[in-house]
């Protein structure tokens, strides 16, 4: 092979140990795929070169152990034992070494080539901890690299350690943890028999034997599937034996032995440390307080939204002016009417009205990243747990739902931290009701056309309506579709930290540009289709009433006659399926808005002749609720691994939207009957 081989490195570690920072420090800008805030579950890879060798780094999801009970841990474990990366870097928080070493010990047991990245040395120092790095390395039989990744300290040393480990590529045969005479005999006994069970031979024998002693569901399942009955029978016997000898369940006994080993390591390696009342404890006193917790939470959320939308406003205006100007230039300078119409009315006015909301999306991701990195998000889950529990969910469901206000796609991906399968599916199914920022353009357009002076209140009511519907649906789904109790909350509360501006900006950029890619491809295509369907077969300048889209809209319009929507409203809805922002783009194309006037104002004028205020409000509610956009449906499909739930989401959201719009029209007309049929 003349082409040089790329070496594989996996990055493992507990949540909240700065794994993402280490990953960024190693790979810099050479990354593929963005990670979503809250979780690093998305498979993220990056590349770095060191001494003429190329390394591909795979960022594994955060895990506390390699047990087969949570999705994150299953993914991490499968990668390590199935893909067998050449080196596994275990990122460890030096300030809570004891807890972190539990994963380290388990990684060592798989037989992987582990390099320990002892991160957050500064925090350990602040706690007054002195860590004997060399001794730790000797006791674990693996290289240990002290680091402060946020300041870039230790990054080169880590690369060197990875390089060395890759070159030696020795198979670790030493025993890290001794489990005591009886258990060791059981393990040796099982190791011998694994030889006769082919699918289990691919793994480290000792590790498999330990897993069988723990009655590990994945390993037992593998053995069962290939008919290794005698092995399983033996394992069962030995488990019974160990239980009788030790008086505890083998899982607990083995875990206990691991911690015993860790305790010994801690005794030899770590010195000092004060149990002082820290600033972090003081903050917790307030943020998790029985009475103050909720107001503080609401305050933070309010501040987050104010920041997101307030700071974005001038940028939004600038982009608006720019696109109006661009559209005008294009319309005037292209002589061919078909091309001129496509560029000015289709592409520029359509995509322009989408890109205008990018500042909001960027800032929202920035704020969410700050909240998470500061450690507050875990407290938010704690504060919200009692409320979420009442609607049949747990505190962790709150985080993805919060992200849903930014964009439903990453929000649905963020549900992977939820262990309970049913909890996850319910959270996924109600996430589309969180009014994402893509729906905001529609609200703004309608609110400023019909509810002058009350825009803020009307838009806010959409968000509240979405939340109420989500609560209702969560209760109904739990009651009728996915019965059972929510999985219990268990979440680490990391010490509060000063969030790093650099990492927040980076995540803002990754997530924001992902949205831009979506806007650039799916939405661009969608808007051009809208323009085409609304311009042809007649061609530019022809009556829009003869266009394809008019035909489609008119066919479906009777369904929506009770709400008083015209065919343009119905046709625009159909294109909102591609992405909800397109509803605005579609209107832009319908009314051929271009020229001197500022886009939104002219659209508003055009709209106010086709809706009553009640009809407009019902329409906004329909846009809030009906089918999630294509990327969201795709996310539901991949995350639930079935079309069933994706189609279920589409069907239930469509029905819900229709009923909601009907109810709003009916009730609204009862209250404001004067408003019915008023010509504006």
């Amino acid at each position: 092979m003349s082409e040089k081989k790329r070496h594989t490195v996996a990055l493992a570690g507990n949540p909240n140990v700065g794994k993402t920072v280490v990953f960024n420090a190693l790979t810099g800008a050479r990354q593929r795929m963005g990670n979503w805030p809250g979780v690093t579950v998305e498979k993220k890879t990056g590349i770095f070169r060191y001494r003429d060798e190329e390394f591909e780094v795979v960022d594994l999801p955060g895990a506390y152990s390699l047990s087969p009970y949570s999705l994150d841990e299953k993914i991490a474990r499968a990668y390590i034992v199935e893909e067998k990366p050449e080196v596994v870097v275990d990122v460890v928080n030096a300030a809570s070494l004891e807890r972190n070493l539990y994963l380290t010990v388990q990684l060592l047991e798989t037989g992987a080539n582990v390099v320990v990245a002892l991160n957050m040395m500064d925090e350990a120092e602040k706690k007054g901890l002195k860590i004997d790095v060399e001794r730790l390395s000797r006791l674990l039989h693996v290289p240990v690299v002290p680091m402060v990744a946020t300041r870039g300290e230790g990054v080169e040393a880590l690369k060197e350690a990875i390089y060395e480990e890759m070159r030696h590529h020795e198979v670790h045969r030493h025993m890290t943890v001794g489990y005591g005479d009886v258990a060791e005999e059981c393990i040796v006994e099982l190791e011998k028999r694994i030889e006769k069970c082919p699918p289990l031979r691919d793994y480290n024998r000792r590790w498999v034997a330990i897993k069988l002693m723990e009655n590990d569901t994945i390993m037992v399942g593998k053995a069962k599937a290939s008919g290794c009955d005698s092995l399983l029978k033996k394992a069962e016997q030995l488990r019974e034996l160990l239980k009788k000898e030790t008086g505890t369940d083998p899982e607990i006994f083995l875990a206990d032995k691991r911690y015993e080993f860790i305790d010994r390591v801690m005794d030899e390696v770590v010195h000092g440390g004060t149990e002082a009342w820290t600033f972090s404890d003081m903050l917790d006193e307030v943020f998790t307080h029985k009475i103050f917790g909720v107001p503080v939470f609401l305050l933070f959320m309010w501040a987050a939204f104010q920041f997101t939308f307030g700071v974005a406003a001038p940028f939004v205006d600038a982009i608006d002016i720019f696109f109006s100007w661009l559209s005008e230039i294009a319309a005037n300078s292209i002589s061919n009417p078909a091309v001129s119409s496509l560029v000015a009315d289709g592409i520029i006015s359509g995509v322009g009205s989408v890109i205008i909301f990018l500042p909001n999306i960027f800032l929202l991701f920035f704020v969410l990243s700050l909240l998470e990195d500061s450690g507050y998000l875990a407290r938010a889950a704690f504060v919200m747990d009692r409320f979420m529990y009442r609607i049949g969910l747990q505190g962790k469901s709150f985080v993805p739902l919060l992200f849903g206000f930014g964009c439903n796609v990453p929000a649905i991906m963020a549900t992977r931290t939820i262990e309970g399968e049913k909890d996850r599916i319910i959270t996924i199914l109600i996430t589309p009701l969180m009014s994402c920022s893509a729906r905001l353009p529609v609200y703004i357009l309608f609110a400023s056309a019909f509810f002058i002076g009350y825009e803020g209140t009307v838009i806010f009511s959409m968000y509240i309506m979405g939340i109420l519907l989500a609560v209702l649906m969560a209760l109904l789904l739990r009651r009728f579709v996915l019965r059972g109790k929510p999985a219990p909350l268990i979440i680490e509360m990391p010490p509060y930290r000063m969030p790093s501006l650099k990492s927040s900006v980076m995540r803002m950029w990754v997530n924001g540009s992902l949205f831009l890619k979506k806007a650039g491809t799916v939405i661009f295509g969608g808007v051009v289709i809208v323009w085409f369907l609304s311009t042809y077969p007649g061609g530019p300048g022809s009556d829009i009433e003869t266009s394809y889209i008019a035909v489609l809209g008119k066919i479906l319009q009777p369904l929506f006659a009770p709400m008083g929507w015209d065919w343009k409203a119905v046709a625009a809805l159909m294109f909102g399926f591609v992405a909800k922002e397109i509803v605005v783009g579609a209107y832009g194309a319908f009314y051929g808005i271009s020229g001197a006037e500022e886009t939104n104002t002219s659209l508003q004028t055009a709209l106010s002749s086709s809706f009553t205020p009640v009809g407009a409000y019902a329409y906004m509610a329909f846009v809030l609720t009906y089918v999630p956009c294509l990327p969201t449906i795709a996310a539901i499909r991949t995350e639930t691994n079935s079309w069933k739930w994706a189609l279920f989401a589409v069907a239930y959201l469509l029905s819900l939207a229709y009923i909601l719009a009907l109810v709003i029209t009916f009730v609204g007309n009862l209250i404001f009957h004067a408003g019915v049929g008023v010509e504006l």
Binding site: S65, Y102, Y259, D284, A381
Partner: protein
């Protein structure tokens, strides 16, 4: 007695678990093991608890805290 009834500020020692393998494994991986002391930082009668174990703070659902058997120290 269950961990869920330990008052705020008190410390107790874990003596065992009641409940399924999944929940127990998760507890174990966070350091909840028989013989380990736990300090209850927050216990507000309803909703989850905050406990300190092996130098880390963990938020724990009330249902789960009911499954952890402890002994007062």
């Amino acid at each position: 007695m269950p961990l869920a009834v330990v008052e705020e500020g008190k410390t107790a020692v874990i003596i065992g678990f009641r409940g399924g393998a999944g929940a127990v494994q998760k507890l174990i991986s966070l350091g909840f093991l028989p013989g380990t002391p736990v300090r209850v930082v927050r216990n507000q009668r309803t909703g989850p608890l905050v406990v300190e174990i092996k130098g880390t703070r963990v938020a724990l659902g009330r249902g789960l805290a009911m499954k952890v058997e402890v002994r007062r120290t």
